[in-house]
């Protein structure tokens, strides 16, 4: 393990990677929508061997008292133990909670969903959008894959029926009012180098990541520094400048 780690580190110092990619090159990204019939929207995202499923379910609930004229958004992630020997059964881990909350912030802060169009009866009834992220195989870079899957599932989603009393899940109505496409790009620091889309070996030697979620107009809607990483101002400037470009490439996939 240790020998392997040093090899990975040395390669990266030279600007190379164990799987031959360029530092800013993603593995093969595949997005498939509509994969789960019982979900109102769903998507499978594969980035290399990493595989993530996102499902959107809708229900009618009472709006939050401070936002009586808006729908509700709930993002949840489960790191299923099927996906990795590192994952355990039980309540969501610190990592799963952080991932879900970063994905949530990207969608919420970009106003990707027109939340006011989810209101049915102000203060009484509104659509609640549940986005569940389910990891199928963990081969690195879960965050970028999860955020992409969540967005793709939202774009796939359609309203079920509603007769004023109960939801009819056999109906597949209009699309959800999605107006923006936030995309998360994780810049991963290994040694003194930043790279994109780390695999598991690279994550095992990384210092941490700066995750930047941006919109079509290049504006930034969420940032999260994760791991015991430190960042110099010039590094931050550099990554902020690049995030939009890489996001745009991923955005074309959904």
């Amino acid at each position: 393990m240790r020998v392997q780690n040093e090899y990975v580190l040395k390669l990266i110092e030279k600007g190379e990677r164990i799987d031959g990619r360029a530092l800013d090159e993603y593995r093969l990204v595949q997005v498939e929508k509509g994969v789960i019939q019982n979900a109102e929207g769903s998507a499978r995202v594969k980035i290399g061997n990493t595989e993530v499923l996102a499902g959107v379910k809708l229900a009618v609930e009472q709006p939050f008292p401070d936002k009586p004229e808006e729908g509700l958004l709930i993002v949840n992630a489960e790191f299923s133990p099927i996906a990795s020997p590192l994952f355990e059964t039980g309540p969501p881990s610190e990592e799963a909670i952080e991932l879900a909350r970063v994905v949530d912030r990207g969608i919420r802060e970009s106003k990707a969903i027109q939340m006011e169009k989810l209101c049915i009866e102000p203060g009484e009834k509104a659509w609640a959008v549940f986005i569940d992220i389910h990891i199928i195989n963990h081969a690195g870079n879960l965050l970028d894959a999860s955020a992409l899957a969540a967005l793709a599932a939202l774009l796939d989603a359609r309203f079920p029926g509603w007769d004023g009393q109960k939801v009819d899940y056999t109906v597949r109505g209009d699309k959800l009012p999605i107006q923006h496409k936030p995309i998360a790009v994780s810049f991963t620091k290994v040694g003194n180098t930043f790279l994109l889309d780390p695999n598991l070996e690279e994550e095992s030697v990384m210092e941490g990541k700066l995750i930047i979620t941006s919109k079509e107009d290049g504006n930034i809607c969420a940032i999260q520094k994760t791991g015991p990483l430190v960042l110099r101002l010039e590094e931050i400037d550099d990554l902020l400048g690049k995030a939009g470009k890489y996001a745009e490439k991923l955005r074309r996939m959904v």
Binding site: I36, N49, G55, K57, P81, I82, A83, A139
Partner: protein, 231 residues
């Protein structure tokens, strides 16, 4: 003859797809689709058991975790174990245990995780079919595979492999798992109101269905081994 909503004959299985080796991180894995029901299973182990005081001196401990993904059903499922899923973990484990040579791995544990990605009845039987292929894919030594299917009785006729629509019509829901070569039953549950004679005939129908599933399981493993060999 009974007309089934999806056009099947009473003794006909739903379209079934089985793939082995679908999760790269796992020691063994499998995906099973029976109609609209989708189960994915992953095996981790055999490996040393922790905490140590739970180790068995003469055999491995088999752990099975069955879980429904929140978006697998029409009404969203809340994450976390329910009373139903706790019972299913137990009966699934006890359906698999009889075929595994657990005594070959004293002090070890073998974890089988099963996620239901989409549910349209028969999730426990799909789970068993997937788990059994995943165990074989992991190279865990086994007497045979285990194959499973649910049967019922609608309008007086015995029907194989119920959908959830049919679950609302059937006089009973009888999931069965068998060791196909020995024709031994390793899971048997029943909900309903039927005569003992009905049950006898239904178990035989289930066994017949299981033999077909068994072939599909073996084919999936063969494809996997050929693919591997080709690499």
């Amino acid at each position: 003859m009974l007309k089934r909503a999806d056009g099947r004959k009473p003794e006909e299985l739903r379209p079934i797809t089985i793939r082995a080796g679908v999760i790269e991180q796992a020691n063994g894995s499998a995906l099973v689709q029976m109609g609209k029901t989708t189960a994915v299973a992953a095996v981790y182990g055999p490996k040393s058991m922790y905490p140590r005081h739970l180790r068995l001196p003469d055999r491995a401990v088999l752990e099975t975790i069955y879980a429904m993904v929140p978006f697998s059903t029409k009404e969203r499922v809340r994450p976390g174990p329910s009373r139903r899923s706790i019972e299913l973990c137990k009966v699934i484990r006890q359906a698999l245990e009889p075929v595994i040579f657990l005594e070959e791995f004293p002090k070890a544990q073998i974890d089988v995780y099963i996620d239901i990605l989409q549910a349209d009845a028969g999730t426990r039987t799909a789970a068993i079919n997937a788990a059994s292929v995943a165990l074989a894919d992991a190279g865990v030594p086994m007497r045979d595979l285990v194959s499973a299917v649910a049967v019922g009785k609608i309008d007086g006729e015995y029907v194989l492999d119920l959908t959830s629509e049919e679950e609302d019509l059937t006089a009973c829901d009888l999931p069965v798992a068998v060791i196909p070569r020995k024709e031994q039953v390793t899971l048997m549950q029943l909900d309903g109101d039927v005569s003992p004679e009905d049950v006898k005939k239904l178990v035989r129908l289930a066994l017949k269905g299981c033999q077909t599933i068994y072939q599909k399981q073996r084919e999936a493993l063969k494809r996997r081994w050929i693919d591997e060999g080709a690499k």
